[in-house]
Symmetry: C2
Subunit: 194 residues, 2 copies
DNA sequence: TTACTTTCTTAAGCTACCTTAATCTTTTTG
DNA sequence: CAAAAAGATTAAGGTAGCTTAAGAAAGTAA
């Protein structure tokens, strides 16, 4: 079993690949290991890679003008993560992406992303579906933010993403939900009392 | 000039189409006129269509358990709108979609959506890009909600979507931004004073 | 083991935004 | 056109969630 089996299995959920296509695809990727707390992207830098998480846990976040940190997404094995807007539009990154534990990713550069579509159009389908999933996920998050209380959003989060709850400090879950860690702590205390 | 020119021009921004491909694509669509306040989707119904807005203005919204309404998206000419999660996963709709003025759409059914990809793979690219745009738009909205005040979100909204500001009542803009119409009114009053 | 850092919790006072309800204005409809 | 409905504004009182600050707990490093 190879390290590349995992990503190939992931892609194969969306399109059937010939052996040669697998080889060609893999040749466009580079493997990168990331130490705990190491950043693979910092705001202001060019956002050059789309990252498939092979192992570990990553977090994307930004700062507002008062310096408050907001978590934009988490990614564990089999997730794709980047500052998508800046990756696609070739703008300096708005987001920081760093490892919450020792992690590893396969990186696809912006140029290879385009090259992939030009040479292997079946990857259009793969990314169409990945983008669809990402869109509906974010839209659901918008809807929950509009229509649920902080406590309800927390309940949904732990039901939907138990993998994250295990790996991620609560303060980051709070900043993903749009609340302070103090208030999340109060929510949790409330649950014990009941 | 035909009614179908507009949607063909929109698709052609993403992929070059042969004449026959245009014809085949158009044959999968149905044209529908929508009266002001008429709904093309209601929560609980099957979500059977992806809608390209040819003219007019549509709004997607939902209700929370207290009956409060939240606006999920607006769509004017050249936008695509549906309850994407339920359309893709064939679940009963969570959203209502209705016309804010007399409008017209081209509708692509779920079956024809799949048929399109099976017969004209170049549409994978079209929707890959549309889904990318939708994803980054929603992600930006999440980030703004996490890191900006209501007033800043309103300022950004009018800068980014002047077409909507013209067409849409303020109470719907308020519910899109996640605030009450009363509070939006207070924000606007504040701006005049300054 | 100790020391250091990070995370979590508690609690008191605070504020951005909400609720209610009345009035005013604009749009729609007959 | 008048009447009704829908939308916008104002203002007073209320609350969900924030801020600050301090201490406890847990993880990490030496």
């Amino acid at each position: 079993m190879q390290v590349t089996d995992q990503i190939i299995r992931n892609i194969s959920r969306y399109t059937a690949l010939e052996e040669q296509e697998k080889v060609d695809f893999l040749s466009l990727l580079s493997f990168r290991e990331i130490a705990k707390k190491e950043a693979i992207l910092k705001a202001g830098q060019p956002c050059q890679h789309l990252n498939y998480v092979h192992s570990g846990t990553l977090r994307a976040y930004c700062f507002d003008k008062e310096g408050k940190e907001s978590t934009v997404m988490f990614a564990v094995a089999d997730w794709w993560i980047t500052d998508m807007f800046c990756f696609l539009n070739q703008k300096p990154a708005m987001l920081y992406i760093e490892a919450l534990e020792g992690s590893s990713v396969f990186q696809l550069s912006r140029a290879n992303f385009e090259h992939l579509f030009a040479t292997q159009p079946s990857f259009e389908r793969v990314f169409r579906i990945l983008m669809q999933n990402a869109y509906t996920r974010e839209q659901l998050r918008v809807i929950e933010r509009l229509s649920l209380s902080a406590e309800e959003r927390y309940d949904n989060f732990i039901a939907k993403y138990p993998q994250f709850v295990e790996k991620v400090p609560q303060k980051h879950i709070a900043s993903y939900l749009g609340i302070t860690p103090e208030f999340l702590s109060a929510i949790r205390r409330g649950k014990l009392g009941r």
